[in-house]
Symmetry: C2
Subunit: 356 residues, 2 copies
Amino acid sequence: MSTISEVARRAGVSSATVSRVVSNRGYVSAETRAKVLKAVEELDFVPNAMARGLKTKQSRLIALLVPEIVNSFYTTIARGVEDVANEHGFQVILGNTDESTVKEKTYVDLMVANHIDGIILAPAGRSGRHLKALQAREVPAIVVDRSVEGFKADFVRGDSVNGALQLTQHLLGLNHRQIVFINGDPETSSARDREVGFRAALTNAGIAVDERWISHGTWFIDDAEARTDRVLTEAPGFTAIFAANNFMAIGALRALRRHGRRVPEDMALVCFDDVEVAAEIDPFLTVMAQPAYTMGTLAAQLLLERINGRFTGPAREVVLTPRLLVRRSCGAMSGTGNAEADDGHIGATPEAAARA
Amino acid sequence: MSTISEVARRAGVSSATVSRVVSNRGYVSAETRAKVLKAVEELDFVPNAMARGLKTKQSRLIALLVPEIVNSFYTTIARGVEDVANEHGFQVILGNTDESTVKEKTYVDLMVANHIDGIILAPAGRSGRHLKALQAREVPAIVVDRSVEGFKADFVRGDSVNGALQLTQHLLGLNHRQIVFINGDPETSSARDREVGFRAALTNAGIAVDERWISHGTWFIDDAEARTDRVLTEAPGFTAIFAANNFMAIGALRALRRHGRRVPEDMALVCFDDVEVAAEIDPFLTVMAQPAYTMGTLAAQLLLERINGRFTGPAREVVLTPRLLVRRSCGAMSGTGNAEADDGHIGATPEAAARA
DNA sequence: GGCTGATATGTAAACGGTTCCACAGTCTTT
DNA sequence: AAAGACTGTGGAACCGTTTACATATCAGCC
């Protein structure tokens, strides 16, 4: 583990000069530069980021905290963040908070202790109390996907209210009147927004909301499965399920299977957020897809503007419009004459045709 | 951004005492401890990890580098790593190398500069030349999924040779004799191993290998799509496709769709690695699933043993057995009397039944 | 009463960089 | 020819911790 002074000694210069060469600033003669570079090469010198950061108080690191690393919605955001960050010479370090504010706080403290230059997070809980370390240190921060109370930051999100409204209206348009809503964690704003949209759609259509058909819990698959299971046994009589996100839909599907209910014949199923790979294999689930990659690139851009001080105004909010992708799970494709889509073979589907 | 000396001043003690309290070592009276803790609380003191790391030369950070963050195979490994690491008081920072040794080197240098305590990586390329920074600094390292030449480290992997052999034999057992193999990047050991298994299965069965039906490239979806497209036009006459991983299978599927070929009627399709969420929605793809989560937990355990010096022996290799999951895409389920599985409705499938 | 060992606290020197400042030599400019 | 600007380099302070070492108190014991 060679240090800057070893390099200096070997090159026959001072450590100040090595520093100038390595970080490319200040005056250095071509000759000296070559000598130093040679020594750097020979000793395989990598500047100690801790020592450097200790002095400069920056790390060229941005943190990204997501609640569920296995969900491609969040990893797609991550790709967007990474692409933009790397373009600007920043590295991204990713943390998985597992929908837990405790883990989130641990990560935030870790990131703060390591003096990250900025942070992008999809917060787990409703309150931002555990984020005060960020606020106190004025770490540039961007919130994505879900808001958090008592924490001022730019906010990039999808339009959950309208998305849920439209998705529900889509079901209503297919003559579903009894709809179950399997919501996520009401501590997260996206869950609350989606419920608002769902209720609005019913109310607008003059349909009374049956509270037995709305449930809250966590964003985990198992929980959605359990709640779907419960509503199937305790309050049947509905014809469609609206799952608050892609994972909730998978949970619902599991429960439906266990009850021997087929989708879409016996039950329509739609959800927020796409599952791209699954849709590639079989365009089955009708979803309200959010532009996850764009959410990531935008969040990173806003963050970089804050970090380099190009923007210093009050918190901004960017709202992205989700897109309805009608596939088979809502029953909308029945009787369209699309044999492939209806007989379960994977073949030329409308989507594939559209893509081609 | 309060420092240890500010805390010390406020508590009326020396910074050494604050350090003892904060890091819980050495003698401190209960009274002093309380005073210090109060000051820490009041000033919202978070020790500067850079300063600390500079002195102690450790970070309690382990790095995980994966080639494709969107692929759930790798994020599932990440979950395993994280769970074990957190249990032992280590934090995981994740980097996405995008199958690029250049990005990989950038991350490795970054991690080294930040003095991570250890690293787990699924290497992108064949050579480990760009990893010499790790070796030189004796950073404990674990390689997962794919080996890398010239880099000594514990290695946790699936049995690709046998997995591919069995998967191919499965196709042979279904009377497929003309099989296309869409491989990944031959620079990665897993790709080479899978090809070995594939060829062995054919040879064992006395079938000549048609080289037009074996292609190499990258691990990216688009590339698999292009190659499948090409083989469909240039060398048709095959009845099954073996894709070297889940993403390759998706690419193949896209190409098949474009050509109007249905799976499994017109073409069987199998691959390495599962796509869990997709299988949950529709158990379609027959796959050779690897125990990704276990790969992660094992890798983390081996790494921690290295970090804390409990194990110092030569490089170990752990080989995990993949599992064949027969679903519909290979045609094996046809005529099994399982209506649901064959008519494309999502309902009670054999898998669901097994799970229940 | 002096010794030993445990407890408690402070002083100051690292750790490995960056950067301000000083100094010197070389050009330009007037 | 003197002044000023530019170029090139080194010395040393500093960033915020940890920790070896020094010092001090106190209890227990011969």
